[in-house]
């Protein structure tokens, strides 16, 4: 008899534990919140592990759409809004879901608790350089450390200072991701641009020789004709009139470009890139093609070529930029605000003017590594202006297709703004005063205790 009573008690304990557990679960889900006012939002907090959070978010959206309580007079309450408390930027699926819910009529708002560290965006730009490579450009708040990865793993990490950071890499595999804390931005690798040749206008001399050498050693194909006398010349390649179909850039180093000014202007206007350096910056025939006025020639500082700032040792013509020009580089000399590199748009093309004269001296007389630095500098100059359209066909003529990224992948924070609007302050959520106690927790603990009691009783009486 006692055993039977005991067994019944144990059954009651088991059922009680089960009931407590179920009630706690229902409380968590919110079944008993029927009395909450319709406008009170359901607050959802983003968590680091995106996948799990999205499923929960999706179920919340669904529940909110279905849960349309009626008021006392029988009218339907407005839909319960959802408010997203974003500690981390919501992932792609969550953002898409939220914007779809908004379109469906569900009010969705969000607060930004990312502490200003989540606003990152990444872009992969192919380098306009025969060696190939890419520039990974990341926009981020200052001081944020960003890890850049591709499919093979971590490439490098950069620290943003003035609105972002750039990183040049030679090889990238797959998709590039920028990770800053919990924020991830991704961008796929674009197709490399089609590079064409360079046309050089120069008289035979050291500047022409070393400029051509630097560009060729870097991998560019350069064409030129050096006039040596009456009907005597040395040609490199088969130079023709400047045309965007054949040339990515035209470089003019001295007065030998005078006879071709009209062709060069036409070339720039139709999208070509023009680089004017050395004595050519004083040619009046160029007119408004030049992005700035060159001052009188000044010598370089003796001895500076061998130092860490070798460009100070080069002769130069201080440039005064035009009003519509951009200064790419100022002189490092103290007390002068003149520019050494100025560029502007001309028609559909770009033109840059270089103040230095005799840049070849940097390669010959500069410090260790100046040969490579000279090559890199000239190649960068060409890249800055070069006409290099995106390739549409591969080597065998088959059209190339580039899968363009969803905009949100490259800039998830900006995408959140775009889809959900501006962040708002956390809404005042009405707390149920009659639920001062955490019932769910108490019920769960009670369930555990009841189960323990039932098990203990069973064991003590020798049952299994």
């Amino acid at each position: 008899m006692r055993g039977q009573i005991r067994a019944r008690v144990e059954l009651v304990l088991r059922l009680g534990a089960l009931g407590a557990l179920v009630t706690a679960l229902l409380l968590v889900v919110g079944v008993f919140r029927a009395g909450a006012p319709g406008g009170t939002p359901v607050v959802f907090q983003t968590a680091p592990i995106g996948a799990v959070a999205t499923r929960t978010f999706a179920s919340l959206v669904q529940q909110s759409l279905l849960d349309v309580p009626t008021t006392a007079d029988g009218r339907a309450n407005p839909l319960r809004p959802i408010h997203l408390l974003a500690n981390a930027v919501p992932d792609e699926a969550a953002r898409a879901l939220a914007s779809a819910a908004r379109v469906a009529g569900l009010p969705v708002s969000w607060s930004d608790s990312t502490a200003n560290r989540a606003a990152i965006a990444v872009e992969v730009q192919p380098l306009i350089d025969p060696k190939g490579g890419y520039t990974l450009r990341v926009a981020a708040p200052g001081g944020v450390e960003i890890a850049l990865q591709d499919s093979l793993g971590l490439i490098d990490s950069v620290r943003a200072k003035f609105g972002g950071a750039n990183l040049e890499v030679g090889r990238v595999a797959g998709t590039v991701r920028a990770v800053a804390g919990n924020s991830v931005a991704a961008s796929s690798v674009p197709i490399a641009p089609a590079l064409r040749r360079i046309l050089l206008f120069a008289e035979p001399g050291w500047e022409a020789k070393f400029t051509m050498a630097a560009l060729e050693e870097r991998g560019w194909i350069v064409e030129a004709r050096y006039a040596l006398g009456k009907n005597v010349s040395v040609t490199q390649g088969a130079p023709v009139n400047p045309d965007t179909a054949r040339y990515s850039a035209v470089i003019a180093l001295d007065s030998s470009a005078r006879a071709h000014v009209a062709a060069i202007r036409r070339y720039a206007a139709t999208g070509g890139g023009v680089l004017i350096a050395g004595a050519a910056t004083t040619l009046r025939e160029f007119g408004d093609l030049l992005p700035g006025r060159a001052g009188p020639r000044q010598s370089g500082i003796p001895g500076a070529l061998a130092t860490a700032t070798p460009l100070l040792g080069l002769a130069w013509r201080p440039m005064t930029p035009d009003s519509n020009a951009v200064v790419l580089e100022h002189s490092a000399r103290k007390g002068t605000t003149n520019a050494t590199l100025v560029a502007k748009r001309f028609g559909a093309g770009r033109v840059a003017a270089v103040a230095y004269d005799g840049v070849w001296e940097w390669r010959m007389a500069g410090p260790d590594g100046s040969v490579d630095a000279h090559r890199q500098w000239w190649s960068a100059l060409v890249s800055a202006v070069a006409f290099a359209p995106e390739q549409t066909r591969d080597a065998s003529g088959i059209p190339l297709q580039w899968h363009r990224d969803e905009p949100g992948r490259a800039a998830p924070y900006a995408d959140t703004h775009a889809r959900l609007g501006e962040p708002v302050a956390m809404p005042a959520v009405t707390v149920r005063t009659d639920r001062a106690l955490p019932w769910e927790l108490l019920l769960a603990v009670a369930a555990v205790l009841l189960l323990l009691g039932e098990w203990g009783s069973r064991r003590l009486r020798g049952a299994r």
Partner: protein, 702 residues
């Protein structure tokens, strides 16, 4: 009367089954516990140890299994041994109709000392009846086994995922990287391969007198070119071996491998360029990298005579004093004279070697000799060139000897002595400043070294004192520059930058900058006076560098001033060197009238084409691809990835030493087992990629 045999059989069957069930419970609980314990230890262990050796995962699994076994045993003990009595009682519970008849029968049967009457027995047997135990056994098995099996099976199936989850939880906060090592598996696999435990013996060439070395299990050998390398292994089969030069990747040769008793042996000579030897045996292969070290040539200095000279007559004794030093040992040292006679277009030369000494391998040697000028029968205008020569013990006669710099003594021509002083010219004014600039540099270096141990006031005072000395020196150099321009000594008509004369230089924020166009030689007018570019440009550079040095010293930054002072010192040295050409006399000056001769030639050239230059250093791109491939390989096969890194390192030593050093660090991390990500990133950066800027400015020309 005995219990019905079938009844006894049923009790036995129940006993066996219940025993099996209790074992099953124990095993299931044990397995579940093992997986959970392993998971927990994987979670906790990385927190305790900073680097996790390969075997730790194995230890964690073993401990977990032991814990599981312990729980299983405990579970079994708690269940208790299933005796026949217990089995029968178990049946009684399920078949209450027996009313303990079975239990009684079983007890009596077990305890033979007690007897019951036949009648009682028959009634008991009747009461028991026939029993169908399969259903209750099945129910009992399900009830007892469901919990442990439901626990164990999912845990076992997802045990690997649990370990990954543990890793993820531990490494959650670091930047996600796929370059991580899988712990344990590879080291176990490696031990089972062939070609392990080979021995490498290196015997340097006899002339080097270096000792032979034994390297056990080495993957790389660095030794003198020509050393004999002996590789022996304990495998029963003979491996194949291919030697491939890493410089010329096309050429490869097979290396003969011979049996040596129960082992094998292969021998080769260290080549002049780096090479790789790959041994292959069944599916295993192993790499031995050869890094040659060249025998450097001796370094020789001629201390006496100190400088070149012109002698009035060919009389007297000339003493020579020299030292030589070699890494492996000297063989012969001597002096060499070349006597040239003649002038204009006709010269004859005679070579004399004397003062030779044979050595027995000393690393350093100082030796002297002398020769008597009288016996050499020199004539006016003859020149004697002297140098010291040392050979090391390298057996190849074509191996270059070491030689000192050459001194020359010239016998003055007749009449030369009258108009030109033959003693070496006195040091020009600039040489006096050389001592001061050097002393200033030494003092500045000492101040910079003492910086942390002196007070700020003392630092400022001493630095400013040095600055004022530097300024004084700079002014002296400045006045020297202007003297040179005007050709006058300092005195009444001294010149300076702002005296209103056009000197061709202007002052630009303290520095002197020439105003003339480059390309035109800086001659100073008519009269054919000496070109001044060779002297004045270095002095200008010294002047400007001293300005920078003084500025740094003024603000108590002695360390920043040191590099500028060194530049100034070097520039003064060059000016001093350039001064020497004017001892010989001036070359004739012919100035071409370009305008008159322009295109006056009868012949014309021809149009011709230029061959383009080849793109430079494509090797960096190839190296980067190989580095990325090796990094990927590390995640799948540690041994192969390590071999690839080692080979890349060897091939980069000559052309990219910094990359080779970074790869060396990576290999060290791989050997001790750790996270190689940071080192590989550093190596990737060194390949010229990773040019970075901390802004979004698109201009790349830095």
């Amino acid at each position: 009367m005995r219990v019905n045999q079938s009844t006894a059989g049923v009790v036995q069957q129940v006993q066996r089954q219940l025993t099996l069930i209790s074992y099953g419970r124990a095993v299931a609980f044990g397995l579940a516990t093992a997986v959970v314990a392993s998971f927990v230890s994987n979670l906790l262990l990385p927190l305790a140890f900073t680097s996790q050796p390969d075997y730790l995962g194995l230890v964690a699994g073993t401990l977990g299994s032991l814990a599981g076994i312990a729980v299983g045993i405990f579970s079994r003990r708690r269940d208790g041994v299933v005796t026949r009595t217990r089995a029968s009682l178990w049946l009684e519970e399920r078949f209450p109709s027996m009313q303990f008849a079975l239990a009684t029968l079983t007890e009596f049967d077990a305890n033979r000392t007690r007897e019951i009457s036949e009648d009682a027995r028959l009634r008991l047997v009747e009461a028991v009846g026939s029993l169908q135990v399969s259903a209750p056994l099945r129910r009992s098995a399900i009830r007892q086994l469901r919990v442990p099996v439901l626990l164990a099976v999912p845990l076992l199936i997802f045990s690997e995922q649990l370990q990954i989850l543990a890793m993820r939880l531990v490494y959650r906060n670091s930047a996600v990287s796929e370059i991580r090592f899988s712990v344990g598996a590879d080291s176990v696999a490696a031990n089972s391969r062939a070609l392990t435990n080979w021995r490498v013996r290196v015997v340097p060439p006899a002339y080097s007198a270096l000792e032979a070395r034994n390297l056990d299990d080495a993957g790389q050998v660095a030794a003198l070119v020509g050393s004999h390398i002996d590789v022996s292994g304990a495998d029963s089969e003979l491996p194949t071996a291919i030697v491939r030069s890493t410089v010329d990747s096309v050429a490869s040769a097979t290396l003969a491998v011979a049996r040596n008793g129960a082992s094998w042996r292969a021998g080769l000579s260290m080549p002049a360029s780096p090479a790789e030897v790959r041994f292959a045996l069944s599916s295993a292969n192993r790499q031995l990298l050869l890094e040659p070290r060249a025998d450097s040539i001796p370094v020789v200095h001629l201390h006496f005579p100190v400088r070149d000279s012109v002698l009035r007559e060919s009389k007297g004794v000339v003493a020579l004093d020299a030292t030589a030093n070699d890494d492996l040992g000297l063989a012969i040292v001597n002096f060499e004279l070349i006597v040239t006679s003649g002038e204009g277009e006709r010269f004859t030369a005679k070579t004399v070697v004397f003062g030779a000494q044979r050595l027995s391998g000393e690393h350093d040697r100082k030796w002297q000799a002398s020769f008597i000028l009288d016996t050499m029968k020199l004539l006016a205008g003859d020149i004697v060139h002297m140098r010291a020569v040392a050979r090391d013990r390298h057996p190849d006669a074509a191996h270059e000897p070491g030689a000192s710099e050459t001194r020359t003594f010239r016998i003055a021509r007749l009449g030369e002595y009258d108009s030109v002083a033959v003693e070496p010219a006195p040091p020009p004014e600039v040489q006096k400043s050389l001592m001061s600039q050097r002393m200033l540099l030494i003092l500045t270096e000492k101040l910079a070294a003492r910086r942390t141990s002196i007070t700020k006031d003392v630092l400022i005072a001493e630095s400013r004192k040095l600055a004022s000395d530097q300024v004084k020196l700079r002014k002296a150099i400045g006045s020297l520059v202007f003297q040179r321009f005007e050709g006058e000594d300092s005195g009444e008509h001294a010149h300076s930058a702002d005296d209103g004369h056009d000197h061709g230089v202007t002052m630009d924020q303290g520095k002197l900058v020439p105003t003339l166009a480059t390309g035109a030689p800086m001659t100073d007018g008519e009269g054919g006076e000496s070109p001044i570019v060779a002297i004045n440009k270095p002095l200008l550079e010294a002047f400007n560098a001293m300005w920078d040095a003084a500025s740094s010293l003024e603000i108590a930054e002695p360390k920043a001033a040191i590099s500028h002072m060194k530049l100034a010192l070097a520039a003064i040295e060059r000016a001093r060197g350039a001064e020497r050409i004017y001892l010989r006399g001036k070359p004739p000056v012919v100035i071409v009238d370009i305008g008159k001769v322009r295109l006056a030639g009868k012949d014309t050239g021809q149009v011709n084409s230029r061959a383009p230059r080849e793109a430079f250093s494509p090797r960096d791109a190839a190296r980067e691809s190989r580095l990325l491939a090796a990094a990927l390989l590390l995640t799948r096969d540690v041994e192969a990835g390590r071999d690839s890194l080692a080979l890349l390192r060897l091939e980069s030593i000559a052309e990219a030493p910094r990359l080779a050093a970074a790869l060396n660090d990576a290999l060290a991390v791989v050997r001790r087992g750790g996270d190689v990500t940071a080192v590989l990133i550093r190596a990737r950066r060194l390949l010229g990629t990773g040019v970075r800027s901390d802004s979004l400015n698109g201009w790349r020309g830095r």
